[in-house]
């Protein structure tokens, strides 16, 4: 299976190990992975700030990089959702539309397309899963606690296959961490308070690692954890799923 890797800009710049883990993981499941070299960003930070009209050239660049690829996989729920919902092109709308049907977040790609039912990974720790909002409510990666509807969770499914991993329940299963893109700067006080509360929930349950599908959320929580000097660590789900025996 040929996969094009879409690596969010902040992972490219600050968390390359997440991109590496994603690539290695996909290769383990037999995918032939290519990384279009001229990709930059999905444009979400600008669009969420009210400047969707400035994302045109970003969109065209994205289409140039990913046109013609059957499966585009991204280790970020919010970036995937943004492309799915907002990729448009003045020059090549049919290409944009096609890409929107072919872009997948990593977890949903593993459960829905590759239909992974066993994971050769070992991660003997207490793990709290931070369910990022766009992945959950936008991509339907897991059920929303607001609804009267049956529970399901694609990331939980995968984590439960990891040997030694103890998945811990939280007080608030799906509350937002407060990153929110430029929100983390423009509404700094509330953003930090939300992040502190999320971290405190995990700490209360004595979680050793906080994981999730969005490095942006984890980066925000890590910033708070490090300032606090707390013991708990963050790790992207790709890194757990790719975590071999040492």
């Amino acid at each position: 299976m040929k996969v094009g890797l879409f690596i969010p800009c902040y992972i490219d710049q600050f968390y390359p190990q997440v991109g590496v883990a994603t690539l290695e993981l996909l290769e383990k499941y037999g995918c032939s992975v290519q990384f279009p070299l001229n990709q930059t960003c999905c444009g979400q930070p600008m669009a969420n700030s009210g400047f969707e009209h400035l994302t045109r050239s970003c969109n065209e660049l994205f289409i140039d990089n990913f046109e013609g690829i059957d499966y585009i996989v991204c280790p970020s729920g919010s970036c995937t959702l943004h492309i799915k919902d907002h990729l448009h092109s003045d020059k090549n709308e049919s290409a944009a539309q096609l890409i929107r049907t072919r872009v997948f977040e990593l977890v949903e790609f593993l459960t829905d397309i590759l239909k992974v039912n066993n994971i050769d990974a070992h991660f003997p720790y207490r793990v709290g899963m931070h369910q990022s909002c766009h992945g959950q409510r936008g991509l339907n990666l897991s059920q929303m606690t607001e609804l009267n509807a049956p529970y399901f969770s694609k990331p939980h499914e995968l984590l439960k296959l990891v040997k030694g991993l103890e998945l811990i329940d939280l007080d608030r299963q799906d509350e937002c961490c407060g990153f929110g893109g430029t929100f983390c700067i423009t509404e700094e006080a509330v953003s930090v308070k939300m992040g502190k509360d999320r971290v405190a929930d995990h700490e209360k349950q004595e979680v050793e690692y906080i994981t999730g599908g969005d490095m942006s959320c984890l980066m925000h929580m890590a910033g708070i954890i490090n300032r606090k000097g707390s013991e708990v660590k963050v790790i992207h789900i790709a890194e757990i799923l790719n975590h071999s025996h040492h």
């Binding site: 600050f14 600008m46 409510r137 607001e146 929110g180």
Partner: protein, 458 residues
Amino acid sequence: MKTDIRNHPEASEEFNRNESYVNWHDETLWFVRQKRDKVIHQIPEWEDLREKASGIKHFVLSHMDELLQEFEAKAIANGIQVHWALDGNEHNQIVENILNRHSIRQMVKSKSMLTEECHLNPYLASKGIDVIDSDLGERIVQLRQEPPSHIVMPAIHLKKKDIGDLFHIHLGTKEGADDPRYLTEAARNHLRETFLTRRAALTGVNFAIAATGGFMVCTNEGNADMGAHLADVHIACMGMEKLIPAFDDLSVFLRLLGRSATGQPITSYSSYFEKPRKGQEMHIIIVDNGRSTQLGRADFRNSLKCIRCGACMNTCPVYRRSGGHSYHNAVAGPIGSILAPNIDMRKNADLPFASTLCGSCTNVCPVKIDIHDQLYKWRQVLGSEGYVPKSKAIGMKVMSTVLSQPRFYQWAGSIGRVVMKTFPVAINNSLNPWYKQREMPEPPKESFREWYIRNRQK
């Protein structure tokens, strides 16, 4: 109080200075969300109910003129006087005129967010007409001379000690007494006097029924009824979107309202008015105040489905940690943030950004308003019409340039990481808002792209 702080980020910053207070405010509202969750899980058909309510409200929006005329005709035939107000000021004048005709200088009011929107109380006060708010939460904030912070629980931001101190000054309760039962009893006695002596009562309208010309007023306290059934004049104010087509449509909305708002299967009283009491004069004021404009906005008209339950506020992680007053609008929280820009884009440009777009609000909304999608769309309107701060606009243009040119992006990224590594103080200082309460991420030695080129590129 906080009335001179203009925007949400500033107000929230002040709100967050007292962390234990924020924890208390957040926990209190989250508790209401949990009560809601508990009762909705007792109704297996809950999601179908929401879908029905949404469908009924879509029908109302698309037939609003016909339904309003039907409502008016039936109400008039039932002996009710119907008035139309283009804006808040006209609404206030209509109320004043009705009271003047009866030489009434004192009125008792039950809860109406519409009258908050129209600033009725200060208007009447300036004309020498005294209004007492009879809903306990509203009476509390009225005595404190501040607006309600939540559309359903007006005094949710206050602790019992605050209310005890307030009642000691205004109602003569014992100093330091803060037992809620004691304080409520004091309010009961104080307001009973009001109900018995005031000749005019003003209520809101939760639902107006087009087919019958009647309307429903829902309370837990019974204050709307105490006022209306004793007064010579009953004035009911409604936003024009409060219509529902038929009497039995109430079955859907009465099942959704209490559960969504406070986690109750229904309010204590759902009072249905069709004709005035013998000898009583009844008036309905139908208010536009920007609603017909919102109706014309294809992206935002669905905000008019709102039944003012407040569930979106209870679930909103930002609202719980910033408080209703930070939204500087009669209606706060997520729904307020999609209604307010329609009235005044400049004043309310901050509100659609007071959100992480998490989407929780959309999922608790009993009438399925796509709140978080509308927040995103308002941002685009505000961005392209120039209501976003200039510095942000410039920053976005720069970002757009960098991100659309791969070489520039790669170069900027590596320079950024080098600076962070060799001159951390350039970034880790008080000019960097991120750094105020968070550590910056560690800059890696190479980007993913660089790793890929070294390790995988054929």
